[in-house]
Every structure is written in C-alpha cells, then in structure tokens.
Subunit: 339 residues, 2 copies
DNA sequence: CTGATTCTTTGAATCGTTTCATTGTTACGA
DNA sequence: TCGTAACAATGAAACGATTCAAAGAATCAG
C-alpha cells in the first residue's frame, strides 16, 4: 500500500523545486518546455495525483458548490440537479448533492457538512427555518441562492417558478372543462410551494360561481402518499367525490391515478379529471397520460448557478430574484369533456 | 467578509493551547470539564466550524465515498444511491454521487475527481475499461466495489444481480403466456447488463421450439430512446410485428409503451405483451401497468457499502461477490392471455 | 513532607499544495 | 565586454487541524 506521491516526490524525481512542479500544474507558460517535459514525465512515472485537500487548505475554499434539494426521489429535483451540474462544470466547479427529504434535521446536517467542506456557495430549496444559518454563511463569504423558492426579502438571490400562477392555471383548466367540485390533493401546506399552488387554485375557484375547492392534505408527497389519499377519496359516498382533482405534484397525481384505476368505479377523465404539477418525464406514460404544469427545470438549474456565479464575482452583489412562468400541459387525464 | 475562525482563534479566545481545542473536539474525556466549557463557549462565540480540508490533509484521506452510476435519470440508480447514502451515514461517511451517463470520458473524469478528493473508497458501475485505473487506486489504498456488475476475477468485491437469470425470467414469462415472436429492445449490448439479459432471453427462447428472438438495439436507454424504437416497430408491416417485447429496462419499456399507445393499432397485452426491467416505482402507474423484473435496490446499495467497509477494515481483505436474484413481477402489460 | 502516580495541558512538527520575493540564467543591444 | 532586461527556477512561509512527547499540576499513600 503505497503512500500517494506528493508534489515533493515529483520534484525530487524530476530534480526541480516544488514551486516549479506547482507552476507546471497551474502556470504552464512560466516554465520552460524542457523542464516542463521532465516534470510531466515524473508525474506520469509516479502516477502523481493532486491532493485536493491541501489545495483547498491553501486556497481557503473548495471548488465545489453544495445543492440541497427537498427530495431526490422526485424527478423534478433530479432534473434541476443535472442542469446545475452541467452549468457548474462550465465554471470548473463540481456540485455536491444533498437530499433533505423535507426534513429540517437532515437539511441542517447537510449545511454543516457543506460548511465544513468550505463549499464556494450553496443552492438550497429550504425546508426549515434556515435564514439565520444562511446569514451566518454569507458573513463568512459563502453566498446562497434559493432554488424553487422566492426570496422573502431582497437579501438573497433566488430562482423560482410562480407557484400561485401555476396553481391558478391548473385549477382554471379544470374549471374550463366544466368541473366544479374540485379537490386539491397535497403534501403539507407548510411547504411554501404547496401553499402557493393552493392559493392560486383558490383564486381560480373564486372567479367561478358554484365552484368549490376541497383541500386534502397528507404528510407525504410521494406516489405512495398519493395512493393513500386516492384510496380515501374512492372510499367516499358517490356524491362526495370531486369531479376534478389537482395534485400538488406529479408523484401524488400518479398515486391518486393508481388508486382510481384499481377500483374500476371511476373513469379518468370522464368521471374525474386529474392534473398534476411538475410535468416529470413519467407523466406522459401514465395509465392515463397526465396533464400537468410544466416547470423549466433546465433553466432553473442553469440560472441558479449563474446567480451564484454573480454573487461570487462581485464584492457587493445586487441580489436578483428570477421568477419563471409555469406552463399548462394538457393530456388525456383532463382532455375531452369540455363544456 | 470575515475569515472563518480557526482552531487557533478559538485557542486564543479561550486561553488554552490549540492541542486542547483539538482534544475537546476529538477526545473530550481527556479534557477537564472546566476547560472544556471554556473552549466550547469560545467555539460558540466565534461560530467556529472545523475545516475539513485541513483535517483531511492531516489524516491522509477524507470521510467520503465515491459512487459512480450509469444514469441518475434512471430511478433504479437513484434508489441504489439513496440506500448507499443511508448505509454510509451509519459508518459516519458521506457519499459523493457521480453520473457517468454511460460515457467513458465522464466516468474517467469522476475517477480523477474522486482520486483528487482522496475518497476512502469507490463504488462504481463501470462503463469503460477501468480495470487498470482501479488497480492503480487499490495500490494507493483506495478499495473499489463494483456495483450492479459481477467482478470478472476475484480481485474485486462486487454486488450484482443475476442478469442472465433476469433475462431468462422475462423471456420465459412471455413464452409462458403464449408469445413466440419475441423482440428484445435494448440499449447498446456493449453494456454488460444488457448483454447478459439478452443472453438469458436467448436461453429461454432456445428451450421452446418455434420461438424466435429479434434484437432491436439503440444507442440510448431512456424513455425517449424507447419511444424511437417503438415508432420503428409500429411502422412495420403487421406480420413483422413481435407479439412479445422485452425491454432491457423500464425506461425503454415506458417509451415503447407510449409509442404503441399513441398509434391505437395495437393493444397491450392482447396484441403485444410488454415487459421491462428494474421495476421502478413508475412501472406500476404506467398507461398499462408494466410487468417487470425487480431488483433489490435497497439491498444492493446497503451491501455495496458493507463490502467496502470490509475492504477498509481488513489489511488483506478477501474479496466477495454478492449476487442477488431478480424477481418477476407480473402486471397488466403481460397479464391475461395465458395459453 | 516526599515521592510516586495520575490527570491535564502544552506547543512544535506534520500533512501537500500554492504563493511570492529572491536568486540565477540567458539574450541582446550598445 | 558590459549592463540590462526578460525569463526561469528556487525554496521558505502559510493554510488549519491533529498528534504526541514532554512538561506541569493535582492527588495520595506512607
């Protein structure tokens, strides 16, 4: 078990000073071609690999960016993460991915970890009350960009999608196709995104007389949770069943759909129209292809990195809040049955 | 923009030696309660956070484990990754996730990155020809465990699932329900897993006289690639259409299903029975709930970490190859139509 | 009160890289 | 041949945590 070769070993082997080896690696133009060749050959022969810890220690910070998402099991977040990784790679940084799983404790654990790792900056979809932590990070020179969440004040940059608008679009679409007894199936409304989508849905419903909106809340936001809530809906007496269901995300919608499909009592969309949120790749291949509200995942991830880069470049950055507009995607789960 | 407080700052503030601060953090019992309190208070007041780079530099290795998967867009791999993260957390390590995207170049890039980071060990689903790199890593004391891939020789530990068996199960199931003109829709057969599944399918077909197996190969393995191949199948003259399709993974299967569903010419499973592989969460909520071959993702991730832990503990570890057995899950896409 | 023993605390050395002031070398015009 | 740039190479210092031999303090038996 060899100890890895260090820059000093390389220097000895090539009969140059350590500073020269460092220059070959970081400022190749400053080194004469002959010396450079000798050093490169030594590197090759010894199989030298830079020690990133030492480099970071000297530099005072790493070349990594931390990203904390709410749920890696949700394709929406993996899509955002991939876009962020690609964009970060262009800036020469790597992205460390942390999954809070909607848990404030885990979230806090990742913030600790990233802080110990001296990440350059942090992208986060916050769960808990992290303002204070983030302020503290910023004082230490670690900027944060909020992802999928509008910054409350102007002290943070953020990338978000207008969830109120999205909720409005979804509910109005259900109303447009003649549904009046709507249900909003959601995870905890303490999650800002869900609360906003509900808010939007409420507005749409308020515009139409005779329309009602029931809120069905669960503590999960997975396919399984959706199935549970679907079962609950299906078990009701017929006159209590909504004719339009808007789910706070596609996972919930797919779960509800499974449940409806399993009991063959209700047809989608004839008896119950169903719309989700996020437009994940799997929405289109659902039992009944799922209508949804599309969010521009690629742009979200890319923009988050760009905003972070701005904060890193400037000494007194102006914080920006970029808000994207969601888009209605109509598929079979709400098709046909127009008024 | 404050420089973060260092252990030395804490020491000054608490009027003790740096070694004492270090002991408070790492060997609390060696420090008298009074001193400990003073140090802890100083840490609190200065908002001290350990610098992981310095710690690693001294220790010679990090507390991280690298995991390189073939495709984070595939829920199979995210499920394995999550299990690995949970298991690693129990050992006090964090997992860095890299996505090679079936690209040998990106794979190599992540190996470089992880090597620079001095990860404790590496879990990898290899794409390219990485044996040599891995041998080199091991010489440096960085053990590797192969994931979702049986080790060729006994020099590596590995966790895999018997893909030949899985392919056999899938194809035999199609044969059992009376299908004879089978097609294997797959990504590149240079991917070991796909090649093995094909091998298994071939064996099953060879057992039944009058049965045939056509291989439809694409260079992708996503939902989109599946759709492309589905379109190609659907465009054929009716007598050239297979009556049983086995897809090398569920993403391909969902794509093929979309394509079949869009042209309303063929019914699933009556005209064409369809089975996928991996049994991802979304399989059950597909247009037609998808039959599949289930792999124990949780056990794979957990076992990978355990094998790695064994390699790290022992000086001359015995390498172990753990092989799980896949399981047939029958749903509607192949149901009914028994002979 | 002494010497032995245990418990605390100290601080210099170390890890591997980068930086930068300094020294050494080369080339060229005068 | 000399002086002066321009260019190359050097190596000590610094980053921040951990380690460990050694010194110092406290305790206790005799």
């Amino acid at each position: 078990m060899l100890r890895s070769a260090s820059i000093k070993d390389v220097a000895n082997h090539a009969r140059v000073a350590v500073g020269t080896v460092s220059n070959v690696l970081n400022n190749p133009d400053r080194v004469s071609p002959r010396t450079k060749d000798r050093v490169l050959q030594a590197i090759e022969e010894l199989g030298f690999v830079r020690n990133d810890a030492a480099r970071q220690l000297r530099a005072g910070h790493s070349r990594t960016i931390g990203l904390i998402v709410l749920d890696v099991g949700n394709p929406f977040f993996t899509a955002v993460a991939r876009a962020a990784e690609d964009a970060a790679a262009l800036h020469g940084s790597a992205v460390l991915l942390g999954d809070s799983g909607h848990d404030a404790g885990r979230e806090s654990g990742y913030i600790d970890l990233f802080q110990e790792q001296r990440v350059q900056g942090l992208l986060i979809s916050p769960v808990g009350d992290v303002e204070e932590r983030l302020d503290q990070l910023r004082e230490r020179g670690v900027p944060t960009v909020l992802v999928d969440r509008l910054a409350d004040d102007a002290s943070y940059s953020s990338v978000s999608v207008n969830d109120v608008e999205g909720g409005f679009l979804a509910a109005r679409h259900l109303l447009d196709i003649g549904r009046r007894r709507l249900a909003f199936v959601t995870g905890p409304t303490s999650v800002r995104q869900f609360a906003d989508r509900l808010e939007g849905a409420r507005r749409a419903v308020a515009d139409v007389s005779g329309a009602s909106l029931e809120v069905v809340e669960s503590d999960g936001q997975t396919v399984l949770a959706g199935r549970g809530m679907g079962d609950q809906l299906v078990g009701r007496s017929a006159d209590k069943i909504p004719d339009g269901i808007f789910c706070a995300n596609d996972l919930l919608a797919l779960g509800v759909m499974q449940s409806l499909a399993m009991t063959h009592t209700f047809r989608i969309p004839e008896d119950v129209a169903l719309i989700g949120y996020d437009d994940i790749d799997f929405a289109v291949s659902a039992v009944v292809p799922l209508s949804s509200i599309r969010q521009p995942t690629e742009a979200i991830g890319r923009t988050a990195i760009e905003l972070l880069a701005e904060e890193l470049d400037e000494t007194h950055p102006r914080h920006r809040a970029v808000v994207f507009t969601p888009e209605l995607v109509v598929r079979q789960s709400t098709a046909g049955a127009a008024v």
